[in-house]
Amino acid sequence: MINGWKDICAFCLAAILGLSPLGCNVVRITLNRPITPADVAFIVPGHTTLADVVANLGAPDSITDSDTGLVATYRFLDLKYSRVNLGWLAKPWTPVDPDLIFSRTGLGVDAFEVLCDPQWVVVHQGFHRHLYRHPFHPYPFLQSRGSTDHKLPPFNGPAIMPSHGRGTIRSSDSSLQ
C-alpha cells in the first residue's frame, strides 16, 4: 500500500532505477588483442631486427615496400558502441511505442608500424594514431578528448594497441639485398 509522497517518490525512483538498463545495447568489436607500449619497448632502432619483432608480436598484417627498406604494419581495432533507449521508461504507461535513443560509437582504429632497412634492421617504429585509453562515454553529447600532439596524456595509459600471437620468422644471415 502506498502511503504519502515519500512512498510515491520511492516507488518512482525504484521504477526508474529498475527500468533504466532496459533498452540498452552494448557492442564491442576487437581486431587482435591489445598490448601496452611495454610490449614494444624491446624495439631498439638500429639494433632490433624484424625477426625479433616477429618473434614477439607475430607476423605483421602487411608488409610494404619503401625507398629505404620495408614497412611492417600491425593493424588493430577496438570498436565500442552503446545505445540506450530511454523510451523504454515510458513503455509500461503508454499505449504507443516511444523512442528516445542516445547512441555513441567509438571506432578505435590504429596501427603499429615498423620501418626496416634492407638488412631487416628496425630504423623507426611508432603507433599510427596514438589512441590512448580514454574512457568511453555512452552519452553522445559529451566531447571526447582528442589525441592532439599538445594534449597527449602521459605514456602510461595505452588505449588500443595490438597484441598478436607470437610468430616465427626463419631468419638467416642473408639480407634482402
Binding site: 538498463p21 532496459l22 533498452g23 540498452c24 545495447n25 552494448v26 557492442v27 564491442r28 568489436i29 576487437t30 581486431l31 587482435n32 588483442r33 591489445p34 624484424l50 616477429v54 607475430g58 607476423a59 605483421p60 598484417d61 602487411s62 608488409i63 610494404t64 615496400d65 627498406g69 620495408l70 581495432l77 565500442k80 523504454w88 634492407p118 598478436h164 600471437g165 607470437r166 610468430g167 616465427t168 620468422i169 626463419r170 631468419s171 638467416s172 642473408s174 634482402l176 639485398q177
Partner: protein, 128 residues
C-alpha cells in the same frame, strides 16, 4: 537430485541459453603448420610453393623480390540477448604467412604466425 530440482535446473539453464547467440565467420583457407614447415629457405621454389599452398591471397613486390601473402581470418561473436539489455562482443584474429622469394624464384624468408588458436567466444564487452 530430486525430479523437481532437476526440472528447476533444466528450466534455469534453458532460460539462460535461449538468450545466447553464437556466431562465427572465417575468411580464407586454414594455414597448415606442417605444410609451412615443409617450406625450406634456399630450396623451395615458387612452383613448389604454389603446389603446396596454392595461389597467394596477395602478391607484393619488395625490393625487387616477390612476396606471397597468405591469410586467414577467424571471427567469433557471442551475444547475450536479454530483450531489453543486450551485450555483444565480436573478436577477430588472423593467421598470416609471408613468403619472400628471391629474384630466382627461390624462397628466401618465411614469416608466419597463428593468432586464431586462442580465439574464444566472449560475451562481456567491458574490460580487455
Amino acid at each position: 537430485m530430486k525430479l523437481p530440482h532437476c526440472l528447476v535446473c533444466f528450466l534455469a539453464v534453458a532460460s539462460l541459453l535461449q538468450s545466447c547467440a553464437f556466431s562465427r565467420g572465417t575468411l580464407g583457407d586454414e594455414l597448415q603448420t606442417d605444410v609451412i614447415k615443409t617450406i625450406q629457405k634456399g630450396t623451395t621454389t615458387k612452383e613448389e610453393l604454389l603446389h603446396l599452398l596454392g595461389a597467394p591471397d596477395r602478391l607484393l613486390a619488395l625490393n625487387g623480390r616477390d612476396v606471397f601473402q597468405y591469410y586467414r581470418y577467424d571471427a567469433k561473436a557471442g551475444s547475450l540477448l536479454l530483450i531489453a539489455l543486450n551485450f555483444t562482443r565480436l573478436s577477430i584474429k588472423s593467421d598470416d604467412l609471408f613468403v619472400i622469394l628471391d629474384r630466382d624464384g627461390v624462397v628466401e624468408e618465411v614469416i608466419s604466425s597463428r593468432r586464431t588458436e586462442d580465439l574464444k567466444f566472449r560475451f562481456w564487452p567491458f574490460g580487455d
